[in-house]
């Protein structure tokens, strides 16, 4: 399993898509954190979620994971991948772990960069900054979201092999369908994997993301629910991959 994981991480590192998307994730996160630090005046209570949750890695790693797995079919590299690793369960597990690890690392890098920038800008404006322990916990929660969505993206990509359909579908679900469900049926919407559960894991007040009356799940429950989405997509993806002919 270790060698498969190493191979999947090597695949990630040796494609320009990953580097480009990671760079965009870093840039947008820094931009949001920088503008929030410069243009808003967060209170001692809100500064943590106002500035230090601007890590956008989760969305980008979700897209990258979909691109990574669906690209195996698009470029028809799935056959050489499965010749090297014919056990499809291990192959899919390695892919899932690789994107979870990539999400974790990317999120940590972004969170640390955002923390440095946020501390520097907020301090220069004599605005409150969060406690070190609070910030560390927030960075950890951000990383959990990115890791879980990275793995979830692999499951989605196996289920929907058509790359454009998978990406557009996820974007529509994230920015249109799930917010609509959240607004119309909050008790259902708060289990949504793209908006509500990440907000719950990050412990961000729902009002900060435009939902005044929503009560997100607690970080622990939201983490479990997101893990449930990942597990379900993995199981369904494996069931499909196991009986799929590759000719």
């Amino acid at each position: 399993m270790k060698v498969l994981l190493a191979a999947e991480l090597l695949k990630l590192r040796t494609t320009r898509t990953f580097v480009a998307v990671a760079a965009v994730a870093v840039a947008t996160s820094m931009l949001i954190a920088g503008l929030t630090s410069l243009l808003s005046e967060p209170s001692e209570e809100s500064v943590l979620t106002d500035v230090f949750t601007s890590d956008t890695s989760s969305l980008f790693i979700l897209i990258l994971a979909i691109v990574g797995i669906s690209g195996e079919w698009r470029h028809r590299t799935i056959t050489s991948s499965l010749l090297a690793a014919p056990d499809r369960l291990r192959f899919l597990a390695a892919k899932t772990l690789a994107f979870a690890a990539a999400g974790l690392i990317l999120s940590l890098l972004i969170s640390i960069a955002v923390a440095i920038l946020g501390f520097a800008l907020l301090s220069s404006r004599d605005l409150p900054v969060p406690e070190g322990a609070e910030l560390a916990a927030q960075i950890g929660r951000n990383a959990i979201v990115a890791a879980l969505l990275g793995g979830f993206g692999v499951g989605i990509g196996v289920l929907v092999r058509n790359q454009p359909v998978a990406i557009v579908g996820v974007l529509v679900l994230s920015f249109a369908v799930e917010p609509a469900v959240l607004g119309l049926v909050p008790d259902v919407g708060r289990f949504g994997p793209f908006v509500a559960l990440p907000v719950g894991v990050q412990d961000v007040p729902a009002a900060d993301v435009g939902f005044e009356d929503i009560r997100p799940l607690s970080p622990a429950l939201a983490t479990l629910a997101l893990l449930g989405w990942l597990s379900a997509s993995f199981a369904a993806g494996y069931a499909l991959l196991r009986r799929r002919d590759l000719d």
Binding site: A7, K11, S80, L83, P86, D245
Partner: protein
Amino acid sequence: MLLGLVRADAGTARFDGARYEDLAHPSGQVGAVLEDASFHPGRTGRNHLRVLATAGGHPAERVADVLAQVDLSAAADRRVKGYSMGMRQRLAIAAALLGDPNVLILDEPANGLDPPGIRWMRDLLRAQAGRGRAVLVSSHLLSEVAQSVDDIVVIARGALRASGPLAGVLGSSDGPVTRVRSIEAERLATLLRERDIASEPEGSGALLVRGAPEAVGEIAANHRVALVELVTVSRSLEDAFFELTEAGS
């Protein structure tokens, strides 16, 4: 099916008693080149092989070894999207050789190769076979196959039509055929007919004889008939293929 990529309706394929997916080191025991081998266009040839070497648990040094073996060292750090078809085919072969396997399976290996490339491929396969490896080539280029292989298996519409040494499969089902040429072709045809050996004229003093050249030569010598040509007529693999596949259809 051999490699577990497509499910078989029935039966299993095994290498040393195990299915491909159950082998301890699959790519170290079986190397494969599939028709229309595909690569991530943005990755370099070297990186493609590094990924496969890592996944297969092969030493990193093997990458440089197989790149040299397929004569791709100079292009190894170029992105695969810039490779010609022949270079892609060489890269696919390099991937199959990574684990130094005892079994090589190649589907249409000459695809995209130019004539020197085809000769190189033929020599490579012969060299692998010469080292005691089993090399299974699946191809529709029958003339190419006929120049490369020792044994042949003919499959048509899912059924085995023939298998065995190439010479045996190429031999006519009606026994040996001999072409003989003589300035006394008519007299020779009469002598053969007296021995119940059928022949038919081919023109220019040649006869196509249903019999072994030894028998034809003996009759000619005994009756002092001068010959200018005496050869066994072999079917081409293409002729044999059509005969075998049409016979069963």
